[in-house]
Symmetry: D3
């Protein structure tokens, strides 16, 4: 993306077709040739309380236009550096096809998209949808060992309950079961949720390092990052890991969550210490986001995190 | 329910635990002994656009308290008659158990509740949830021949698409396939929807009488009722059959819908001419119902319709 | 009000301090010298369901600026006539003082304001607040015989229940009890409400002519007006007399209400046949009025009605 | 657009990048080769009360996905006919470039887009933005004589006031001044607005036929269409021509507006009698559209009207 | 409550009749036999700005279902402990009867409910309603000496103004006047409010320890708790003690309030040091709570606080 | 303002005509005789994303009534001092006249109002509107040297782009160009925005001291104030300098903003160290402020800041 102000259009944020960050739409997934791809995964059939995360990708794309002013990259005056300059090629794949009433098929279609991204050598960035869309993301990683860093209010570690294995409360259990998943750093976990005591015990037994907001806060961003292995890392960001004050638009808000810089600085530290190989950001539910602050948060965090990740490469 | 004003509590509508119309909660479904039972069916996994109908039962119950002033029945000054007096015993069964990601199991649980109501000889009134909850309602009617009267913007007559058979676009197809369903009068069908031309042709071939809002309006309530058989009738009311002006809080609004008296008078005529054996009212989605007018509409319509149905008996 | 466009300010509707119709604020009630006065009565302690009508006067004033473009009067192209020209002097008295937890004192303060208006020979226009503010309006009319025309979904004719005599469900009972009130024409009454059968019987015994929306619709505006005496009339307009489609922002919406022209044409007919001596418009509750349509309705109706009333004089 | 259900994707309405009706995005305006083009004109600097129509194109595109189920065209069961089949090629041009604080430049950019459409022989459909965007639309029609049919609450016929000539209150004055504009049929005009008596007189002198909602209603759709010349017609649809009950999401709502079928049937009659050469639909303001009903109305009306227009060709 | 997942129902949070935490409803107050009782006090006649707290109990009950997953108690992974296990019996009394326009009678009815709870030896937890409902709570404590811990933005210490003694601005004055109230620790008091300088002086003279948010923050939870006597304590929690960022849904928000852990840790410290004998939580106004975060906060805080209180016993 | 409780009216915050803080309205700008004047500047034609700040003055005035209880001044218990006592005379000038589509004229009218205030020796407090209204404020300061202290998420330092010089992204560039502006302290600047790297460099070259939230936080209020010259200072407060958690109602929210006490204490320190000669507070957009918390923040901050400024004199 080059600066277009003087030669071309002004392209104010409220104009135009909403792709992520105004980057080009690549509906042909067999011919992806870029560094980062955005894939919408608008499935919310796994929610246990308020639905609506199916409109998350659409809302995050719309919010992302606020940060796409046509500059040549994003200048950060605190770092005095420009991120995501023209050398970083980003594309928007559009959305995985969702089949209502059919969780397996919807998940398969998401997996198919993530696999296409990985095959093309691009960093997949998946926009949920509820947290269950994390499951096909990790399934697409088959054969690629990675550690998972989770930002979340809830551990989502239910094994199976009433036969349910692919709801948003099962997400991390499903991924930690995989051979190619080497461990989990879970950040922000707090208060009562669908995961009972046994879930925590099982998670720890399977390699999870679980930190509450207060515990993570005490360690600080660098302290947290130091507990994450230096190799390949998949980031799974449930927006309800943030405090409801800045992320009200989500299915199951939980008070006492992270504030903005806490997560930003943690992800920055992880991006430079480890090697981020994929991201999913889930549970943005626009119907509960009266001022769009939650989708703005998702877009702002993703663009900054992508800046760090691509700069670290 | 007897008038409690002077001896007991004032019980203003904003007070108290929200059961439907403040009628008693009967969580034990094996011991239902009453004339009418309310069953919540908070499943919205079948929606193709905006979800949220899972909160329909809760919103309709809350709205219904507005019409439960503690009088001995509901006095209608236009008819100079009191409906739903103390001789009509109404109970609230609570909700069918819903299993996220599992449409079949959720539908089975709804069917189980409707069967309990029918077995007890009570009139089942099912609060959706999306229109797919109509499918288990009709499955519970197995062995009890009935005609269906549908109020709806959409015909919901998709057979199977991408393997989906129990979404909200398949509802009436599924019920009309049943041996014990003798026909369908579909009212309010309009504009483009998920049902294509072939769906209309199939419906007519299977015994459907399809009327748009304009066609129904031309016939008038009595004219419509005259096209419905006099025997047992199941009413399935999709709130989007109404105009978005009075029913904005629904997943897929369609302009040009019915106004209040059109449906009220039609259901009144059907109630007295035919024999209503069950009701489902679906697709109330509170997240899009800023002033609660949609849930108030659902409650007001149900209470009045129940008055007619029970009076006709 | 003279046209100020070329000599002075443009005064777009979103600018300026919000008095009713941008008319001057007259906080000194002892020196009112004008034809019409607006008095806010922001009391909602009489509501039985959703409160918030205390913000009605503020919202109606704000909405009224939309119709105050600085023209010399309001030109109506359908009538090819200009209403409320500079010869009609209108002032905004501000609000009656409200004392929370004390209904009597609050009502007394409203009565005090209406009396000041009447003493000054001005037409009082009272903005509620809930319908209980009608009671002090009529009390201020002591010694001035009048008939009441009510637009409302509910008859509000409860005598006393649990000791309550000045709630919004008692309003018309309280006024019809007065010696100086000669009768009542109640329009739009429908569905279940806090008034039971005995209330209707009492009302008829005390001189009430009660018409539902459907009954009034069958008569037409002129037919309705013909049932109203030709002498002095007080108009009490509960915004819930209108349909919830255009008046969602009210405490107790009731479907099947009047549409805009039905009320406008009825009030027009009454204004020219009878002699309107006072108006209260109540139950606008902005917290439930997402698009401000209800307060716009109130302002639009009042300005048009005032045009008719002042033209008829 | 061919049906893709079995061979390809299900493409539920909540998925994918939002172009109008999911039709292809053609950002290269020099190479338009299709029958109908959609152009966003997100300018709202001309509003006199509530702004926000700049987000109209985005909201209408999103709503239009509800009616884009992947069928081969839109089947209308009332007409038993399929509209907008694969033979009608539709494209979305994206938005005209808007320059904040500069009305002239923004209007020029809109004109540039409409000219590109006309040059390519495509039917331009412009999504506002406020009603001032109608001005560049008609400027682009230079050299192509046409009559204008306006659906609107307000006549928008202010000449110049405080120097303003291109606000939304000046729109029709500006177009009727053009040599190539042969006349105006204004439908729905009602109540007080920024146009004073002189504006009405000037409009009539310049060839305007002005009908209020009640006057238009008395004529009926065919009666109205009969007053429109049979030649080329440009449709300008201000969403506030509709009643606030179905179009709350607009800057300056006015009660007593048109209902859905009234406009639909009028536009249908005009489409078959006259020859529609361009359309603008303006003043959808999503910030005031809590349930998206206004943008759904715009999308539903446009898709149906386009069906009639293309079928009539 | 025992875990029901495998033997019984899944009972997702969006299903079922809303009692507090899904605990049983005990409408017969003469036969309460449990450890904790919830009583709704939906009175908001004492508010001085935005009303609506009458819907607080209903909203808090609904939000509480999010934390009632059917586990056997609430597992807290930070403490590695399970609170509110099956040995703690909780019941929902429903609501006190409210009489509109009559503050005294409404307060008496609340007092009656609290007395019933105390008589039964259960811990009363009262859900407001506005802060005036604290007055009858403390009146019910007659004969039981206690200290009061208040979380609040406002001191609520007006004696009498215009005759008002039982508004929400009088609450703590009324309770501190009682013989059986031994003192007050007021936390979070800040900014201008209805209490003037004399109110602060009177409060201190009557035994109040008043700390602003900044003063309390400087002391820390343990430092605050050390200022509270070790004996019996009544907690009165005005939700506006919290910051508007997490508690927007309240009548009179005041910026600069407490964050979640500050209050949670303070109440935890008080619960273990002193002996909590009753709780009221007031001023949740759902009409201003777009994303339900305020009612979620109330439910989350109450459930955690009850866990500490019952564990401390 | 003297206490009126016992002799006069109670004047609860929800009553009465909304001037700022209930102070008198002075529409005659040639005869201002007071210490502080409030001027509305409802212009939002300069916004690049979400408009609506034109309704900012109206919303801030309404919110300010919450803090106007009729006390004689505002008692601050943390300082044990009363601010803004009767010796401080405050008046509300109403709004500058705004001409839609004409930025220059609108800005001129704002400048005219600020000049009137300065000429009268009153402290001007301007309520935006978008940040472009800062430009005429500083133009009115011609001949009065001052330093600018800016609270903002965005530097707003674009010189000219597509010819635009008076949009909200140009505001500080325009003022820093003035001879009489001696420097800028910009606080809270963060994340990507319309100002590119060159803008930052130009700002620094022109005398700007730019601090991000994190940088400012590290310095603390006194540390920041120490960087501001001791002479005359104009405060320009963009509400988006605050965190979206407490200021969601703004056009372009940016996460990671200031919390309440950070700004309050900084402005307090500046008020006592330097000499505040004017204030503008901009970008409050009520359409995105579901619970009014943003306008409450603006009113609360302004009233407290005015207390410090006037006390420092």
């Amino acid at each position: 993306m080059t600066a277009s102000y003087d030669s071309g259009r002004l392209d104010l944020p409220f104009t135009g077709i909403c792709t992520f960050g105004r980057h080009p739409h690549h509906p042909d997934w067999s011919a992806l040739d870029c560094d980062v791809v955005i894939l919408g995964a608008p499935f919310d059939g796994g929610t246990q309380w308020r639905p609506g995360a199916r409109f998350g990708p659409r809302a995050i794309r719309e919010a992302s236009t606020l940060f796409a002013f046509g500059h040549a990259g994003a200048y950060d005056h605190e770092e005095d550096r420009t991120f995501l300059g023209p050398e970083v090629r980003i594309a928007d794949m559009g959305d995985a096809d969702i089949v209502h009433t059919n969780t397996e098929k919807s998940h398969d279609n998401i997996r198919f998209g993530v696999e296409a991204a990985l095959r093309a050598g691009a960093l997949p960035v998946v926009l949920g949808g509820d947290h269950s869309v994390h499951i096909p993301c990790i399934e697409a990683m088959e054969g690629r060992p990675c550690h998972i860093v989770q930002i979340d209010a809830h551990l989502d570690f239910v094994d199976v309950r009433h036969g349910v294995t692919r709801g948003h409360g099962n997400a991390l259990r499903r991924s930690l079961e995989k051979d190619w998943v080497t461990g989990l750093t879970a950040l922000g976990i707090r208060n009562v949720s669908s995961t009972a005591r046994e879930g925590y015990e099982a998670a720890r037994a399977m390699g999870a390092d679980i930190l509450s907001v207060r515990q993570a806060r005490a360690l600080g961003p660098e302290g947290i990052a130091a507990r994450v292995p230096e190799g390949d890392v998949w980031l799974t960001i449930d927006i309800d890991g943030f405090d409801p004050s800045i992320a009200p638009g989500t299915g199951t808000p939980s008070h006492g969550g992270f504030l903005y810089y806490e997560v930003l600085e943690t992800l920055r530290a992880v991006a430079y210490r480890s090697h981020v190989v994929g991201i999913d950001l889930v549970e943005v539910a626009p119907a509960y986001d009266a001022a769009d602050t939650t989708s703005i948060l998702a877009a702002q965090l993703l663009l900054n995190t992508l800046g760090f990740v691509m700069d670290a490469r």
